[in-house]
Homo-oligomer: 343 residues x 4
């Protein structure tokens, strides 16, 4: 019963098969291979326009390299206080941007809203050299609390960002889960809404280690390739990362597998909500559930071997826990968890 | 007929099998898994002492993170002019160390010798704040020209380095090939000779993407884990990198596969040396051959589909080319190459 | 009528005289001169113990270099949301530390209190590589809102910081003004209370451009000298910076001049508080006044040529303005300002 | 008898007078003052076109900030092996550029020639992400060995640089001395010859601490102001730095004072050349002399109190020493030095 994280699970069988297929023969290294070319085309097709695709192996690398490409050292990046880049990357963005400032903003459900961004911008005087200059907004889709921005919400943020000469970056470690929830196209959820760069995540969705930084304008991609190399993130046998992305996009598997996780999360959340003393803390719109459970229930679940994170310290007899569902979470684990929780 | 690089070839079947085995179930992410623990033990056994092991996915990351851990921003790193860190990593070391200086030294066969290091040190006044302070020597084993340091040569450099308060780093992208040539133990070729940190390469030897930074003193490893995370080089599903290293060390496969490549190189080199007009430019001690061939021969080989790099521009009717043999280079490719070269 | 900043005014006549005296003859450059040696001794005497003194020319350099010496790239620095390092240095600390995180904390009067620090620390898990690791607390004395920490308050913060393996840095751009208010010794207000490093400011107090980074333990100073040089902050004709610090410490002039500014601020604040519709927003404990004045009054003052900053946008018919008094503010300017304000 | 460096001497009386004049009243800080405006105009007049002027206090800061503005982290900067940026700034350029590579080139008299640059460029493949990309050439005028580039030599380098998409930076720590030697206009020696950015030095020529980064195209200056602030190199009481530059340009004093030093150097060099056993090692074209003197002579001079640097270790009974003349070197010191040398 592992609900600790979607990255606690391994990879799709299709991923492993893709690696085997990719293993044939000698090819050009560092991305000048057929699989990588094919992946570029597939991404362009998936997003309904020519996009600039750059595979990497971690979400932290994707976020930090994308933002360093968009934001100068004297820039500031507006993000949610709970965002992964602000809380869980050990200052990777500050390192890669050579000292840009992450400006943390509060917002319900780990989502930013235009008004909060506007209020924040008032603290930064444009052209005033003493202030880091806001150059990007970064949002997480689905968010760190499992909520999802609608396309309209994204568009509103993008409009505001662009009006202030800022780029819009989307941390899409769980982009597939968000897209399934929205039921819209990748295009609608990104560039058509104004997103400039996307960290497209595949690892949490079932790859071994594969993400892609996607720029929707070649101009924005500028010196990304040099930054990736300089950071040691250009893999010599790139075909093996590309093969994972290839399998991901193949036959819409990325969305199907994310849908499975979302569906499981929905069912589990609905059941939990029925349990006396339990309460959902946030909307369940992707594959994560944030629920307050009685401390005794939490203890009983842990005793039974369930793994999950306490999201906040216990308070008033209850604890806010996080449960993450993955493409591979066994249904019986959900059933068992619920049955123990109900006791 | 691909002799361009050992990373042009894919991975051992055992690597793919290891990934499949590693795929079972849910485990702790970020390296707190059984496979990673096992790999640590295996490395300690292989090196005959407790070592500090840190998997990453590229040689550039291994080198840059290792050196950034050993060398402060005001430090200088002495290395060969032809070294990978100096020529082929787009300034990764300068980036990761926050501006340490790479001091390039010349030396036959891409190898450093103590005397050249001593001469170089004279340009740096100890404690003089205007000068970057020499804090490490980095050597490549096997070297970028396929030559191999003997254990005595390493020990002499280490002794000099330590006498000047410098650490000794070894870029071991082709460490296995060097070790096979030396016929000594991993311990003899590293810490017993005075090496402080090793970039242990598995990718060129047949992994998909797996290297390990190894420190021989826990104290030296200090803040490596933070640096790796901050750089986006800590993989969530670490077990898949560790599984490759595990397969590598299993049953001495790493040495057996490297031996295959070395043997092929030896045979190919010997045959080439017999061809009129051909000449070996460097000792063939690992899996790379540097040979001068008549321009017409080079053209004929390329026409027949052989891939390899010109190492220097053509001069005097001949060109210096590099041929790299891998665990997977088909023997018939070698035979065919030689037959075309002989025409 | 310039109340915009203490750095709007020039330098003491004694500073200029000191430069003239320092101008004689040829001396060792880069700080190996008599004046710099003398300054070191004077600081040690002033602080009642051997201290490590490093002159620089700006407060931003002092803060950023001091913190970069104390905090590794993966560190976090806890500071007030209104602090100069967080708001007014364009990310200098993030740049110099190579990506350490500034963690902004709220607190009345721009002061940190132990409880807020403790609450903040809960968000950072010790030894967890995903989190930047809290390595320093930075407080500003006098604060950006003109308030002053008591020695007891400092000691409480230092105790907490040290208990969590953090260093305590003090941004003392207006340290003299704070000290005058406290009426204690430099020792009591710094190392005896647990301060590890002090950015000692002289510029705002009447130097042309002179600050000193002071470490109270030689061990903490470690590689500061290299960092200063590498940043281009080591002046060749150092004697001219040292001469300013020398004049500063001479005959307690630094405290006398700060006392003048404080006294003026006190009188001005008391008079303002009597004006109907005016209100002091913060305690006036150094040389700055934060007052809410009716918008009409503010307009009238500006029209009459008074310079000062609006600290917040106008609200409810009043505006919060900042008035800073300096060693050189003419008394008649204060009188005139008050007379206009009273109309 | 101090011939160790031109920065061993203090400042012109006119500099101190300028500081006194600048001390009146309250002005806008951070460079929004009249003196700074006036300096900008004076520089534009002196250089015969609108230039972008940015005062700083050290040559290292000028060089590093200028180059960081022109060169991205993945860039390479071609410079002479003996250049100040390569040898005497503790890696400041690597730090400020976030890891750009300094490529050291040899050349007679510490001067670069186009052919050597071309040869070097062959090692860097354009657009190849594994190689740092040459983005600037940096030359020193007058050079570290006291030699001076002619305008034609500069133009040839600039032409080559621009043809390869590189900027040309000039380290002009002793620009005045070079200009006096050339007898041409500042315009002819810089932008008319193709220089893109100049580190204009005043400190060695008799300021307390004043340099200016000058860009000849506003576009190149881009984000310089943010970089300067972020590095703590923006002085609050900027007027005092500007006042020094103002005095410098006033009435062509900068050239007159440099001429004095050059003349003294010329006379001293001519006299030295007459001494049996003495030999000039480089052309004396500015205010520095590099001479080989018998070891006994060197010892005698030191015993008599003369200060100067050994430039190379003694060899064959003679030592190469450096003698630097300044605006303030007393003529009698030269006379005395020569008389002792002649004994």
């Amino acid at each position: 019963m592992n609900f600790a994280s979607d990255n606690a699970y391994g990879a799709w069988p299709e991923m492993l098969a893709a690696l085997s297929h990719a293993n044939d023969g000698a090819v050009q290294s560092y991305g000048d291979d057929e699989i990588t070319s094919r992946v570029r085309e597939k991404f362009s097709r998936a997003f309904g326009r020519e996009v600039s695709v750059h595979p990497v192996v971690t979400g932290t690398a994707a976020n930090a390299l994308a933002l360093a490409t968009l934001v100068p050292p004297h820039g500031a990046i507006l993000c949610h206080k709970e965002s992964h880049i602000a809380r869980d990357e050990c200052g990777a963005v500050e390192f890669y941007t050579h000292g840009a400032k992450l400006v943390e903003i509060e917002g319900h459900g780990a989502k930013l809203v235009p008004q909060a961004i506007e209020t924040t911008l008032k603290h930064f005087q444009k052209g005033f050299v003493h202030h880091s200059q806001p150059k990007a907004v970064s949002i997480t889709q689905a968010s760190e609390l499992g909520t999802v921005y609608t396309c309209e919400e994204i568009a509103a943020i993008a409009k505001l960002a662009h009006a202030h000469d800022m780029k819009l970056h989307m941390d899409g470690a769980r982009f597939a889960n968000a897209l399934v929830h929205l039921g819209c196209t990748p295009a609608e959820a990104t560039w058509q809404a104004g997103v400039d760069a996307l960290s497209f995540g595949a690892t949490k969705n079932g790859a071994l280690a594969a993400e892609a930084v996607i720029f929707f304008s070649a101009e924005d991609a500028a010196d990304f390739e040099y930054r990736r190399k300089k950071a040691g993130h250009l893999l010599s046998k790139m075909r093996f990362v590309s093969a994972q992305l290839d399998a991901c996009l193949d036959n819409n598997l990325w969305l199907k597998r994310a849908a499975h996780a979302n569906t499981l999360a929905r069912r589990m959340a609905d059941a939990l909500a029925q349990i006396p003393g339990a309460e959902l803390a946030h909307l369940v719109q992707s594959n994560a559930i944030f629920a307050r459970l009685p401390d005794a229930t939490v203890a009983r679940l842990r005793e039974a071997g369930a793994r999950f994170y306490d999201w906040e310290p216990a308070e008033g007899g209850r604890t806010l826990i996080r449960l993450v569902l993955s493409f591979a979470t066994p249904e019986q684990d959900v059933v068992r968890f619920l049955s123990i929780a109900r006791k």
